[in-house]
Symmetry: C2
Subunit: 196 residues, 2 copies
């Protein structure tokens, strides 16, 4: 019986309804009633899948991390030999198209809420560790990091560039369109390379 699969599927559908509401009305708009209406179901049904509202928001946040992570892994797996795979992997977490933009919006909204919600904060911290590790991984590519640079510090710096670009591309799309964000990230990686 593929019960658990169906259940997970249903939760994802509802989680994405949460996204749509958050994108339209912000986290405060993500009430049980609004989400249920958006998903075309009832309050009671929604509460069958998510006992409390916090459950719902936490799931929406794990969904962001999980989807971004899946894309990154896919890029890394699909481009074994390409030399800009690091850049292309990092681009997967920037809001460069509508899908990633939605994720980034939800991420930012929930990151802010995590300031006063410890359970969300734990999720946020976990995905932050993930991203920092991704940055470190990218810098371990052959020739990616010039001799004399401190790998730990450079990973932290790259991660700062990445999240800074994410925030700016999201909030100031006119000043920092997708191409420009990509260009800045590429320039940063280029500046770290061994330029023999």
């Amino acid at each position: 019986m593929p019960r658990t699969v169906d259940a997970e599927q249903r939760r994802r559908e509802l989680g994405e309804a949460v996204w749509r509401v958050i994108r339209r009305d912000g986290v405060p708009g993500a009430s049980v009633r609004n989400v249920a209406r958006e998903a075309g179901t009832s309050m009671g049904s929604l509460r069958h899948w998510f006992t409390t509202q916090d459950d719902l928001l936490r799931f929406a946040m794990t969904l962001v991390a999980e989807r971004a992570r899946a894309r990154v892994v896919a890029v890394l797996a699909a481009s074994d030999t390409v030399d800009d795979r690091g850049l292309r992997a990092l681009e997967e977490v920037l809001p460069l198209d509508e899908e990633r933009r939605a994720e980034t919006e939800v991420w930012l909204a929930l990151t802010a809420r995590a300031l006063v919600d410890p359970r969300l904060a734990a999720l946020r911290d976990a995905s932050a560790e993930d991203l920092l590790a991704l940055c470190a991984l990218v810098l371990r590519e052959p020739g990616a990091l010039r001799a004399g640079l401190d790998p730990g510090l450079e990973a932290e710096r790259l991660y700062a560039v990445l999240d800074g670009l994410a925030v700016h591309a999201l909030t100031r799309p006119a000043a920092l369109p997708a191409d420009r964000a990509r260009q800045v990230l590429a320039a940063h990686l280029e500046a770290l390379r061994d330029t023999r």
Copy 2:
């Protein structure tokens, strides 16, 4: 009659009460009642100074931008001859102590809310332009930018590092304590310098 001075003073007091509530309970906690209680006054009095709740939040946001800006200007004015004045100016917008941490928390919370509140978004955009200009200014210091680097792109990159560090130092203080954030920022500026 120093009425306007008193009035501005009163509004600032109430604005800082908003901060305290936002830091404790997040933006959703910043209801008219809660802020009035925090400020030790009544709903009616609060509504005399701020007609609507949006007024209140907008003012709290301008207060952040204004205070950070004042500190940056003070640093730039006080250190005409020091060669790390750029670094020290930029540090003023990082959450390196309790005061700046409070500002950054409020900034992040309101930035997220600005995603669905156009009037807040206008304020956020204005202060973003300010900060980008500050980055560009710092890079125009003598010797700050090596020949061959694109000033516009480097300003955008520096701004990304700055906001990225701000978010990370705020949300992951254990992984990125004040000294470390300062160190990463200094390393970034150093990497841009003319190293003749």
